[in-house]
């Protein structure tokens, strides 16, 4: 069953009532006509896709032909022993279909982006989306940590609503304004010169974690066990950061988390990813520009522009 055509039905209105009351009918209509492609299945993929399917996007395509492993079963709750060895995308698409029969969910065999509004890479970028004119996100959740990078191209138009109070009558009304935001490409962001002076001033603009996550996102091949801290430190050294800005304690906690999955943090990052994707698709409110990082130990999620 597809909901890509026609107007919203009475049943859909009831099903989506609690969110229509939040983001409005216009946003819901954009949502039901949208198409998103996910590349890479991890716990954070389950979480983000689950939320988008519940919200009622039009089409969800998933690409990850890798076989399900025993380790995946620890955290990827839609998979069980009987799925081990089967392609991840196929099983996930089947499981998600139960959540909302109105969404067209499919496992895809190629990265065809015809009609796709947004591409989400999980773990590492398959790249080139900007050149193809497609908005994209890159995200990962590992252990207690996670990050999201957003690229909405050079000019993302969106609507912002705010209440304006009439000084005379004291009554307030909702005012809609159209805005445009420019985003950096991943390559630009990683090469961006960090300005801001000393560590205290820098900390107002950036979370130290964002530099660590950038380093991890650019990792080409798996770093051998025990060498991750060194890899991160080497990458950080090239960023010309003030001494001590990224603490050793943070780096060692990241190393302990790397290569693991933890459902509660994946849930936070996946939900944030879904919410940012909803902003991109519905053109309502500015999507995070351009990094979000999360540290579950201290319950801190920070967005910054880099």
């Amino acid at each position: 069953m597809s909901q890509q055509n026609g107007v919203i039905s009475k049943e859909e209105e009831t099903l989506y009532d609690r969110q229509i009351r939040l983001w409005g009918m216009e946003a819901q209509n954009r949502l039901r006509k949208s198409s998103i492609l996910f590349i890479g299945v991890k716990t954070v993929t389950l979480e983000a896709c689950k939320n988008l399917v519940l919200g009622g996007i039009g089409r969800l395509s998933i690409y990850d032909p890798q076989p399900i492993t025993n380790l995946d079963l620890e955290t990827q709750y839609y998979f069980n022993e009987s799925h081990v060895g089967q392609p991840k995308d196929k099983v996930l698409a089947e499981k998600l279909a139960v959540l909302n029969p109105l969404v067209d969910i499919r496992a895809v065999s190629s990265l065809d982006i015809a009609g796709v509004d947004l591409v989400v890479n999980i773990g590492h970028s398959t790249g080139g989306w900007r050149q193809k004119g497609v908005k994209s996100m890159l995200a990962d959740a590992f252990g207690l940590f996670g990050y999201i990078f957003v690229d909405c191209l050079d000019a993302h138009e969106y609507i912002e609503e705010g209440r304006v109070r009439d000084a005379k009558t004291g009554e307030s009304e909702v005012v809609r304004s159209s805005k445009v935001a420019a985003y950096k490409s991943f390559e630009e962001s990683v090469a961006a010169k960090v300005s801001g002076g000393n560590a205290v001033r820098l900390a107002r603009k950036y979370s130290p974690l964002v530099f660590v996550c950038q380093a991890l996102a650019t990792m080409d091949e798996q770093v051998p066990d025990g060498e991750l801290s060194q890899f991160i430190k080497t990458a950080l050294a090239q960023r010309d950061l003030p001494p001590g800005f990224v603490g050793d304690e943070l780096v060692s906690r990241v190393e302990a988390s790397w290569g693991t999955e933890f459902v509660p943090s994946a849930s936070v990052v996946g939900a944030t990813l879904a919410q940012e994707a909803l902003k991109i698709i519905t053109l309502k409110d500015m999507p995070a520009n351009n990094w979000f990082t999360y540290d579950g130990l201290v319950s801190e999620g920070i967005t910054c522009t880099l």
């Binding site: 049943e11 209105e13 009831t14 099903l15 989506y16 009532d17 609690r18 969110q19 009351r21 939040l22 983001w23 409005g24 009918m25 216009e26 979480e47 689950k50 939320n51 519940l54 919200g55 009622g56 380790l71 079963l73 620890e74 709750y77 909302n100 029969p101 252990g143 207690l144 609503e161 209440r163 109070r165 307030s172 909702v174 302990a256 693991t260 933890f262 459902v263 509660p264 943090s265 994946a266 849930s267 936070v268 939900a271 944030t272 879904a274 919410q275 902003k279 409110d285 500015m286 999507p287 995070a288 520009n289 579950g296 130990l297 201290v298 319950s299 801190e300 999620g301 920070i302 967005t303």
Partner: protein, 631 residues
């Protein structure tokens, strides 16, 4: 059973072991509850009990992902627990479809858990679980979401409890005259239609409407008496139900003769626009087909509202006269009831020249609907479970109060602060909690309890009770020196079953009294320890009474409630939202955050239905500017 190799890598073997043996109670299996149960069952927790009274509804399915269409009308707790058993076979998980305030869930029952997690939707139940956890000495993780906003905090030894910061009432009340005589906003008309007109005609008739604060003073005595007379006359119209003239007599009364009466009082309209009287026959001459499929997103025209009123009045009357139900309760998901309220509220808006609202908007106001989405619930639940692991592995002091904010310009969308110390003046957690064990509630009288307390006070040094004591339950006085009527009554007769709490306070204050003596004792009523040879009455828990530090002098701050007010704070301010099925209590309606620059203060918060005031006096303001209905 799923393995937990990765969990062990992140948190260590000892924490992983504690997680696997901890017994958890989850209160609420709705929006946050579903996410919470998923995260818990996939993070090594193996002993989980979930309690929820509710059944599944279509409008839950946009976020409560453990439920599907085929589960509609089934109990939430049961379906959610079955779903996590599917995720993690072998997990020891149990469901109960019940109200957490039931007597079965007494202090002994709460005490069997290592941690309680609240995923509730109302202030009343949150308060109750907070008190039970204090009485049972079990840590509690509290949560809430409203639209894009959310909050998590941890309550345990040495932290603030849920009641340490004052909570605003969840539901707004209106002066009775505003509702009945001089409405000036759409909400006044909706409250009138739902709580007065609908209730008097079709519901359990109430003499005093709980939504209307009847504030009698010399000026409005006469008007209030008139209004009472009006209510009685309206209730009498219910007799016409079933006759074809029913809609006409109701209409004539409330939109014609009652309005004429108001118009006959020119004083009332000196500074207000006078209402317009409507006439049934004139309305009858208009035509509309709104009775069958009214537009939901635009305001009803007068003709549409009239047609819808006639149609729904007849249908509701028919349901009442033909069915077994003696009365109907307003239910926002019952189209007849909702449309009746929307139609009559609309007509009243026309009468008083008030802006119209659509059925969609009326539903939100009449049904107290709070927007809710999957993502906020998922963020909140994820933070709760991370903190749950810390609590059960003995690291409660490292936990946080965390907030989910929503604003594209803000750099922190998930932010946290350390847990705050208890408010030394808190009327709930700054009490000594003991367990009162009663073998037979129908035999033991209040007098027995008071005598026993006096007897114990002589031998038990830590009880510090003088001759002159008072006993209260919430705001109900059960006993003091001048009021002994209840002494011969049994606890059962007094409605003091298991799970109830009574507060015993010393009334004779002397200056040199030790501090502990001035702190009231809360007795949680429970069954006997062992069935056979237990005494009729017993009080336990003296070893758990904490040492209290002397109370600091009162802060010169009008927001800090004084001790007198706190004494009976419980029920005085609690107005419970009865029919919201969402995760949260409503936010405040501040609209002016622009001039507050401090980021922490500017962040959007929702403090379980109230505005949050952090312990360090960073005043945070809850706003609703992004939860505005925007279509």
């Amino acid at each position: 059973m799923r393995t937990t190799e990765q969990l062990t890598r992140i948190f260590g073997q000892e924490a992983a072991d504690r997680v696997s043996t901890a017994r958890l109670l989850v209160v609420g299996a709705g929006g946050i509850g579903c996410e919470l149960l998923k995260d818990l069952s996939m993070s090594g927790f193996q002993h989980i009990e979930a309690v929820d009274l509710d059944t599944i509804d279509l409008s839950n399915l946009n976020r409560q992902f453990l439920f599907q269409r085929r589960h509609i009308k089934r109990p939430k707790a049961e379906v959610a627990i079955q779903a996590i058993r599917d995720f993690n076979p072998g997990i020891d998980a149990h469901a109960r479809q019940a109200n957490i305030k039931e007597p079965t869930f007494d202090v002994d029952w709460f005490a069997q858990f290592d941690l309680v997690l609240n995923a509730l939707d109302n202030l009343d139940a949150r308060r109750h679980v907070n008190a039970m956890c204090l009485a049972a000495h079990v840590p509690l993780i509290e949560s809430g979401t409203a639209g894009y906003l959310g909050q998590v905090t941890v309550i345990g030894d040495g932290t603030e409890c849920f009641e340490c910061q004052p909570k605003a009432a969840e539901r707004k009340t209106f002066p009775i005259c505003t509702i009945r005589s001089t409405p000036s906003a759409p909400i006044h008309c909706i409250v009138w239609a739902k709580n007065y007109l609908f209730a008097q005609l079709f519901g359990e008739r109430l003499d005093e409407d709980e939504d209307m604060a009847a504030e009698a003073d010399a000026d409005n005595m006469e008007e209030l008496e008139q209004l009472r007379e009006e209510s009685r006359a309206l209730a009498n119209l219910a007799d016409a139900m079933g006759s074809p003239e029913f809609a006409r007599v109701v209409f004539d009364k409330v939109f014609s003769s009652d309005i004429a009466r108001l118009l006959s009082m020119p004083d009332m309209w000196e500074h207000r626009q006078p209402p317009t009287q409507l006439h049934y026959d004139e309305m009858e001459a208009t035509s509309s087909d709104a009775s069958t499929s009214p537009a939901t997103h635009t305001a009803l025209s007068m003709a549409d509202a009239f047609a819808l009123f006639k149609h729904t009045a007849a249908r509701l009357a028919q349901r009442l006269t033909s069915g077994d139900a003696g009365a109907l309760a307003f239910d926002k998901d019952d189209d007849d009831a909702l449309h009746f309220v929307a139609a009559t509220a609309s007509l009243r808006s026309y009468v008083f020249g008030i802006e119209q609202t659509s059925i969609f908007e009326t539903k939100a106001m009449a049904g107290n609907i709070i927007p809710a989405i999957a993502t906020t619930n998922a963020v909140v639940a994820g933070m709760m479970v991370t903190q749950a692991i810390m609590v059960v592995s003995g690291q409660l002091p490292r936990c946080h109060t965390a907030y989910v904010a929503y604003n594209s310009k803000r750099s922190r969308c998930v932010l946290s602060e350390p847990l705050a110390a208890p408010n030394p003046r808190c009327s709930v957690c700054r009490r000594r909690y003991l367990t009162l064990r009663v073998a037979d509630l129908s035999r033991t009288t209040l007098g027995d309890v008071v005598d026993y307390l006096h007897m114990l006070a002589e031998t038990e040094n830590s009880l510090h009770l003088g001759e002159d004591i008072s006993v209260v339950e919430g705001s109900r006085i059960l006993y003091d020196l001048d009021f002994e009527d209840n002494m011969p009554k049994s606890l059962e007769e007094l409605g003091l079953g298991r799970g109830k709490m009574i507060t015993v306070a010393r009334e004779d204050f002397e200056d040199d009294l030790p501090i502990a003596a001035t702190i009231p004792v809360v007795l949680s009523i429970a069954g006997p320890q062992a069935a056979d040879d237990s005494p009729d009455l017993d009080i336990e828990g003296f070893e758990l009474i904490p040492e209290f530090a002397p109370l600091p002098p009162p802060v010169a701050d009008e927001t800090a409630p004084d001790a007198d007010q706190l004494h009976f704070a419980d029920d005085d301010v609690a107005v419970v939202v009865g029919d919201s099925d969402d995760e949260y209590a409503p936010l405040g309606h501040e609209e002016n955050v622009d001039n507050i620059s401090d980021e922490l203060a500017k962040r959007k918060l929702c403090d379980f239905g109230a505005r949050y005031e952090s312990p360090v006096k960073r005043r945070a303001v809850a706003t609703d500017d992004e939860t505005t209905i925007s279509d």
